[in-house]
Amino acid sequence: MIAIVDYGIGNLHSVFKALERLKAKPRITDNQKEIKKAKGVVLPGVGSFGRAMEQLEKKELITPLLEAAEKGIPFLGMCLGLQLMFEKSQETTGTKGLALFQGEVRKLPPTNKIPHMGWNRTHFLRSSTLTSDIPTGSFFYFAHSYYVVPKEEHDVVIGICNYNVTIPVIINRDYLWGLQFHPEKSSHWGMKFLENWVEVTKK
């Protein structure tokens, strides 16, 4: 079973349906026990950094999420979910993130239209399990106003895209993955991404 973490906000139905199509047995849940015994954890999200962390705290989900990550259960943060895996965000100063990655979340520079909305090319900096069989330079769907700036950039950034600023969009260390784009909304290459991740959860 793959746990899709439900913390009261966010579009969970599409992620659920996408995983179901990949025959992955997803379950939308806010239950600590279910998260603990899951073969994979998906942290989706829309909305603001502060509100999301507040909801996770209220539902007492922070500890189970950190434990899942610690145990090496494949963990996938998507869009805001990726941002929550960092230490802090300019969106809500004073709120602590999950800090699974070092670094912070910053506002996109105002030289372009914000939100960064639509399909952009993603370039892979090196090969990785999740990008296998996907050509570098493929388009993925984005909808965000903030972006992650990892401290240990060279170690964790797998993919980038350009929007006047270079945005790290695929982050990975061990069994932790974060995607700034929405794989469940990115047509066939997005589905391939999810399929590759589902394969990891079976191991």
């Binding site: 966010g10 349906k17 829309v46 105002p110 239209k113 050509p135």
Partner: protein, 259 residues
């Protein structure tokens, strides 16, 4: 580089996709899920579903449509039409919609836009603006007036001010429809689109008037739109989305091609 988006718009009435001219003379053009799937195969970038009856009949049937579409599609889509409460938005997003578009309710209670943007994030909130060129008898000049209730009610608002205001209120995108060009297939209103696109720093989707592929190129280039909404020319099979994208690609406009 961020691709310019081609967004088929499906006007939905009683669960069926329809198309009208100048918001009237409605014709049936198909089933939402079937059309959505066809467009996804053709590499549409996004879809918009507008419930064209909801504004005045206050129906909330679109949640069902959103659920069915989300179950079959791996494309982002927006739902609009008659949305006026945070609960309604929650239901649509939970059903799988990525964004909602607010039109009449944004004009009647602008704070709703801010409330929704705070709750769900600006990227979920599209403000749709229907505009018609109007002669102001007092100032003796014409201006682009904002209309609500599916184009039936004039508001006296100038679109230039309104566009800036919705940006400040927290909208993540503007869906701009020219009622003068909508359904005519005579081309988008380029000067209106350009004025708004240059004025705000959120993306602008141009709508109303696509008839030939040149119109798409013009609104994305001269009109400076970030995306073009299209309906008739694709529903009736005059052109496919793929043909449109090849046409734009050849003219150096960045679009997402199948690759």
């Amino acid at each position: 580089m961020l691709a310019k988006r081609i967004i088929p718009c499906l006007d939905v009435r009683e669960g069926r996709v329809v198309k009208g001219i100048h918001f009237e003379n409605i014709k049936d053009v198909g089933n939402p899920v079937e059309l959505a799937k066809k467009y996804e195969e053709e590499a549409a970038d996004e879809l918009v579903f507008l419930d064209i009856t909801a504004s005045y009949e206050k129906r909330e049937t679109m949640v069902e449509v959103a659920e069915k579409v989300a179950a079959e599609l791996t494309l982002p889509f927006t739902v609009g039409g008659g949305i006026n409460t945070a609960d309604h938005v929650t239901n649509l997003l939970k059903a799988g919609a990525d964004k909602v578009s607010i039109n009449t309710a944004a004009v009647l209670s602008p704070t709703l836009v801010t409330e929704l943007a705070d709750k769900f994030g600006s990227q979920c909130i599209v403000v749709a603006i229907d505009v018609k060129k109007t002669w102001d008898r007092i100032t003796r000049r014409s201006y682009w007036e904002v209309f609500i209730n599916g184009g039936k009610t004039p508001t006296g608002k100038d679109v230039l001010q309104w566009a800036s205001q919705v940006e400040k209120l927290g909208a993540g995108e503007i869906l701009l429809t020219s009622m003068d060009t909508d359904g005519t297939q005579g081309g988008y209103d380029l000067s209106l689109t350009r004025k708004i696109a240059e004025r705000v720093s959120i993306p602008v989707i141009a709508s109303g008037g696509a008839g030939r592929l040149e119109h798409l190129a013009a609104v994305l280039r001269e009109g400076k739109a970030d995306a073009a909404l299209v309906a008739s020319i694709f529903h009736y099979g005059q052109f496919t989305i793929r043909q449109a994208k090849e046409f734009l690609h050849k003219r150096g406009i960045p679009v997402r091609m199948d690759d």
